[in-house]
């Protein structure tokens, strides 16, 4: 299993250039995930884009591991159209400082995707040209996809499953 992750071209490249910022390399169901320090996220993405040809930023999202530290995990899905392979880069973001550098300097697709993460998770993207809410109304309070945000809306009892 780990063999496949070790033979991945992105993993080999990252191990050579960013060995000190790699936190975890994992392989599951044929997909390779590399967790990196958030300080180096732009440098790593730039390297993957320009040197290894991962030219498309397919997706930016986040996962809220509420109750654990660091609380948030930013997830970047990169795709290489020439080589037709994927790599997933993750970067932990702690609750005390919910900011990470914006990838809009590398990909324009990051604009909308990061706005959504800001809207629903409350992650701040430094350097984002237009960081506003995108799905929720401008005057909305709170970030709905956080685990401590009640399913039925603010100031409501937590959802306990269907009663029927």
């Amino acid at each position: 299993m780990t063999n496949m992750a070790e033979n991945n071209r992105a993993v080999i490249g990252l191990k050579g250039k960013f060995a000190s910022s790699l936190l975890e390399i994992k392989e599951f169901r044929g997909e390779v995930t590399v967790t990196v320090k958030k300080e180096d996220i732009i440098a790593i993405c730039k390297y993957l884009k320009e040197e290894l040809g991962y030219n498309m930023l397919t997706d930016v999202t986040a996962v809220d591991y509420y109750g654990k530290a660091p609380r948030f995990m930013l997830v970047y899905n990169l795709y290489s159209i020439p080589a037709k392979d994927r790599i997933r880069i993750k970067a932990p973001v702690d609750e005390s400082d919910t900011s990470i550098a914006s990838a809009t300097c590398l990909w324009n697709s990051a604009n909308f995707l990061e706005r959504e993460v800001f809207d629903l998770f409350g992650i701040n993207f430094t350097g984002h040209p237009d960081q506003r809410r995108i799905l929720m109304a401008d005057d909305w309070v709170g970030h709905p996809l956080r685990k401590d945000y009640p399913l039925q809306g603010p100031d409501r009892e937590p959802y306990k499953g269907r009663l029927s």
Binding site: F28, D59, T61, N77, N108, S109, F112, L135, L151
Partner: protein
């Protein structure tokens, strides 16, 4: 020199050419577009949040309602992602039926695209014709799943039931008659002077920019990027079928129109091959901890009833891990990123909607054009707000 003043025009959210509830605030210098600010979220239902509170089987109906013009394609992406997490194998018959139905869905979605796109530009006849043909696919949907739009026919592990008697005949009739209909649309549009003047040179985006903006699907291929997930990262047995991936050259609305028309013809070819290779067999994987038992068992035996009850009430546990599975939807790359904590509900489910990302490029494509051309750009992007807002 005459003094100019920038005028701000609000377009939508109730506007016939915005294909739903898209609101664009457009800044104009005369008729020339200077800036476009899209406002979305009017249809936000919190599908990703809801899915964290439902079992894996209960999430499936939510996915119908994303891109409601292509429900089966959305279902396919979701069930493939969960099956990948579980690591189960799907019987060949189920896979082939899935391919037939998702390609029919592609036809259905593209028919709405050509209908609305042409109507927006003023060709009403195409609208009437394309909706007439779409009705054929809708009727097949209704026969197979009982619903015309929100089908929820696929299941994690296969299909909810085998196809009805006469399914092959109905599909055969569609693939026999549709190429002739495509000829009609082409006859009405391809060499039509008004159509050509409205679409050639409209909404130009270079291949490099299109990749940078994350555009996927026919809109990307229209810019000359030869990339299709069905061919390049095959799923559901797409590697077995022969089909061409059309690409454009001039990166404009006219080329995207031609790409989508060829795609419809290729979809018919895929359906034909899949129909020929359809053999009898099971339609559910041999995974009793995941799949519902057959109805005869549920109604007639106590074991079957308990089995059904357990899956319906508790769901099934999914191994801890995370996967990203994407499918080539009619609109582009639809991806599901599911994080499982080992429980019976997704810990986090992210939907990567193609229309949402494609919409991000609207300013790039329409800046400097006339306001009337914006309508053509919205049409060529082929967006669905149910998927953008989720």
């Amino acid at each position: 020199m005459a003094s100019t003043e920038i005028m701000t025009v609000n377009m939508g959210p109730q506007h016939p050419s915005t294909h739903g509830v898209l609101r664009l605030v457009v800044e104009l210098d005369g008729e020339v577009i200077q800036k476009i600010t899209p406002h979305i979220g009017y249809l936000h239902r919190g599908v990703e949040k809801l899915s964290e509170h439902r079992t894996y089987h209960q999430v499936l109906p939510l996915t119908d309602r994303l891109d409601y013009l292509a429900p089966m394609s959305n279902n396919l992406g979701y069930v493939l992602a969960v099956e990948k997490l579980l690591g189960i194998e799907i019987p060949e018959r189920a896979q082939t039926v899935r391919v037939i139905l998702t390609e029919l869905t592609r036809l259905k979605s593209h028919l709405v695209w050509i209908a609305c796109h042409a109507l927006d530009i003023g060709a009403m006849t195409v609208f009437i014709y394309a909706f007439r043909e779409r009705e054929k696919v809708m009727q097949l949907y209704e026969k197979i799943s009982g619903a015309r739009m929100t089908s929820s026919y696929f299941r994690v592990g296969g299909l909810s039931a085998d196809v009805y008697d006469g399914f092959e005949k109905d599909v055969q009739e569609i693939i026999d008659t549709f190429p002739g209909h495509f000829d009609t649309y082409e006859g009405l549009l391809t060499k039509n002077t008004i159509w050509m003047q409205r679409t050639i040179g409209n909404g130009v985006i270079s291949a490099e920019d299109a990749i940078n903006y994350g555009i996927t699907g026919p809109a990307l291929r229209g810019s000359g990027v030869d990339w299709d997930l069905r061919r390049d990262n095959p799923y559901s047995g797409y590697e077995k079928y022969n089909f061409q991936v059309p690409v454009g050259k001039n990166c404009d609305t006219y080329d995207r129109y031609k790409v989508r028309l060829v795609e419809m013809r290729e979809a018919v070819k895929i359906i034909k091959q899949a129909l020929d290779s359809l053999k009898p067999g099971p339609v559910l994987a041999d995974a009793p901890q995941v799949c519902y038992p057959p109805k005869e068992e549920v109604y007639n035996t106590i074991e079957g009833l308990i089995h059904h009850f357990k899956i319906a009430s508790e769901g099934f546990p999914v191994p801890e891990g995370e996967v990203y599975q994407s499918v080539e939807n009619p609109k582009g790359e639809l991806g599901y990123y599911i994080v499982s904590d080992g429980g019976t509900k997704p810990y986090r489910m992210r939907i990567r909607p193609p229309s949402f990302v494609n919409l991000g490029a609207i300013e790039k494509m329409a800046k400097g054009a006339m306001i009337a051309d914006l309508v053509a750009v919205i049409g060529t992007l082929d967006i669905v707000l149910g998927e953008i807002d989720r």
